[in-house]
Subunit: 323 residues, 2 copies
């Protein structure tokens, strides 16, 4: 679930009331309670050629990323990824394409121990839909509505790399082939934060994965938690590539920060945490080798979403939306 759905909320919302539905449309995953001790977390995500990736993208990369973006939604709930179903539409069912696609997908599936339990294949324009299912303990899900005033705001990994890749891929910027290859690989071979997130869920009540860009997804948290937030741009974790001379020569710091705030497709975790839980979280991050960075605070609702840079309040732009 990303922001796209909101636009037609009126059409598709409100049909999620049923026995066992603990959380319906509107978070990273739905939550289902079945008789027994565990909740199910479910999510679905689609990638369309020309919309979510450029034509000609390596099928291995597509396979990895199609699963990764779904696992990212499960991670954002603190759920343990368990199973997935694949639906793929391809113009001619080309076997070389499918073989390489499967290799990429199963490389990640094996690493994260998730099982492909169903699928569907059809001829048509290239598009991939995965539905992923995880489990989590009741009361253990990190929901968008769980942020509290006074919480510290953290992100995993770095922000803006995929945004730079897309910008250059669209021809807005010319980068060296070697740098493009690196950004390309990183934008598709996304790391999975699920193991860390599952432990994090013991001490954290609010997380989201950054698919629409930091500002767009932080807005979801603010709206659903009825809070405000302050982000200190000086602290944003930019990717190491942003320091290369060929990047700094072409993009001002403002432009680089813009990519980190609005670029989207980072698929890193954004989470908020009570200050007294921070040291435990940092130990977890170290144990699972997940880089984490404090980027701000949760504030009162009336303060809204505020960005600061070198002590100065900055203007907000509308967040990135796929649809």
């Amino acid at each position: 679930m990303a922001g796209e759905f909101k636009l037609i909320d009126k059409l598709f919302a409100g049909h999620d009331a049923a026995k066992g539905v603990m959380l319906g449309v509107g978070d990273d995953c739905a939550l289902i309670a079945l008789p027994g001790a565990q909740y199910l977390a479910l999510t679905t995500d689609t990638m369309v050629e020309g919309r979510h990736f450029f034509a000609g993208t390596k099928p291995y990369y597509l396979g990895w990323r199609a699963l990764a973006v779904n696992l990212s939604d499960l991670a954002a709930m603190g759920a343990r990824p368990r199973y997935f179903l694949l639906s793929i539409t391809h113009p001619d069912g080309n076997k070389r394409f499918l073989k390489s696609f499967a290799q990429g997908m199963f490389a990640l599936a094996k690493e994260e121990k998730v099982a492909l339990i169903g699928g569907n294949m059809a001829k048509g324009p290239l598009s991939i839909t995965i539905t992923a299912i995880g489990t989590c303990k009741p009361g253990r899900a990190m929901e968008r509505s769980g942020a509290q005033v006074g919480d510290e705001l953290y992100v995993t990994g770095t922000l803006g790399g995929p945004g730079l890749y897309v910008k250059a891929g669209m021809g807005e910027l010319k980068l060296s082939p070697s740098l493009m290859a690196e950004l390309y690989a990183k934008a598709f071979l996304l790391p999975c934060r699920a193991r860390f997130a599952k432990r994090l869920a013991k001490i954290c009540r609010c997380a989201i994965d950054i698919s629409d860009g930091l500002v767009g997804d932080l807005r979801h948290i603010c709206t659903q938690s009825q809070v405000g937030a302050q982000v200190v741009l000086d602290t944003l974790p930019l990717p190491p590539e942003f320091l290369l001379p060929e990047v700094t020569a072409r993009l001002s710091l403002d432009e680089r920060l813009h990519l980190a705030l609005y670029g989207g497709c980072d698929y890193e975790l954004l989470f908020s945490l009570a200050p007294d839980k921070v040291s435990t979280m940092l130990s977890l991050a170290q144990r699972y080798q997940v880089p984490v960075t404090k980027i701000g605070l949760i504030t009162h609702r009336r303060q809204g979403l505020q960005l600061y840079f070198q002590g100065q309040r900055q203007t907000l732009k509308p967040g990135f939306e796929h649809f």
Copy 2:
């Protein structure tokens, strides 16, 4: 899951082993056992414009059918439909289209009491993927591998109507507008057999839904149950439209039977049953107002799949495959 997946079995099979997976890739649904009393049945199905439906198809019809084909897979397991996730790709997110699509989808969802718990929307060529989740009691699923020699073979509803609609829609045949409208509505506003199927599962161990055509899907049962089957073509339930003069004038009985055998997209249940369970099944069918017809028998594997018409053995053609 339809036959399409088989073609690339080597690429995508064998990755479904995980804790809780009772039945993986290769049946109508996957089955997951979680701590507690119930199994989960999961299935996914995609409809692509120009492949599974003609461009310009009424969005209300598409909404109904996209959900119906998934509920049909759940029915074929004897699972009770509970939840679904929707992923829709549309060139421009046209609101009128989406409104009508949602009306059709929720009309069926309401009737069958299933909840939309997640979704995804993207711009791109028109395509709809639904993942549906049901529950069933352990040991109660009707699997493709459950047929026994001596079982009687039954189908619900009629066979061949959607095949005739597609044939005429492709311009191979000219029918009156009123008949076309009727076939069109019936091909999309499919009835749901899930309530009947849930009860049927108490006395029946083998079912499949007919998406690839009777012969194609009966082959799945024969292969997975390691049995043969005899079908008596004289007994096939043809739709009432097949008796209209404008149809009989244009299609020989052979051609009409061909549609019932190979036309596909019927989304009716094909199931096999021990003779001593038949009277109970017939009472259930009456109670749920589902028409059922005996069309043959399950035989020994060495006899293979045999078709008889007026006492004569008929030649088999390869089944219909989408891919």
